[in-house]
Point group: C2
Chain length 109, copies 2
């Protein structure tokens, strides 16, 4: 499936240990991105597909937000057929930035 492969190649991930505090804070300092993270925190890993989030933005903007979260080591994504599934990288992000998820995502805005 060459189309699938092309899509998969665009999924660049960054491990939280490679992320600066500045990049982590920039990623968290957006209400739509915090909404995505809270949604993921409330569901099992790999059960939430990108298209199913209830977000107040258009699809292209949502895709940008997911890419920012990936680049900040906050989420992991994988394609499964036509769906792009997501996982909050809670444990590894917590190791790199202790307490930051608790102070920003595990609380209301």
């Amino acid at each position: 499936m060459p189309v699938e492969s092309a899509r998969a190649r665009t999924l660049l991930h960054v491990h939280p240990t490679e992320v600066s505090l500045q990049v982590a804070l920039d990623a968290l300092a957006d209400p739509v991105r915090r909404a995505i993270l809270r949604d993921l925190a409330a569901h099992d890993d790999w059960t939430r597909a990108c298209g199913t989030f209830d977000l107040p933005v258009k699809k292209a903007t949502a895709s940008h937000h997911f890419a920012v979260l990936r680049a900040a080591g906050l989420i992991e994504q994988r394609d499964e057929g036509a769906r792009r599934l997501n996982r909050l990288r809670r444990d590894e992000f917590e190791s790199a930035f202790p307490g930051l998820l608790a102070a920003t995502v595990d609380r209301p805005d």
Copy 2:
């Protein structure tokens, strides 16, 4: 001293309980502002004057950063003669945003 009074009137403070998480994160998501907060965290309250911080920005930019920190409930300022003294609002900010200073200021970038 009318000039002093005019200066003092510009010192609008916002209590951390009146600050949104978005405003708090925007304030913390800047390396110069984190440098100011870390400096304050390392010194006793009211011992650091604005002009004495070693910052890589011009005076007007530094003043802007101090104003952002004030508006986010992160610092308190008061004029003492020609000096503007600062205090990190650690306890009240911690009450409003538990763990956020620990995750951002009490660690290196």
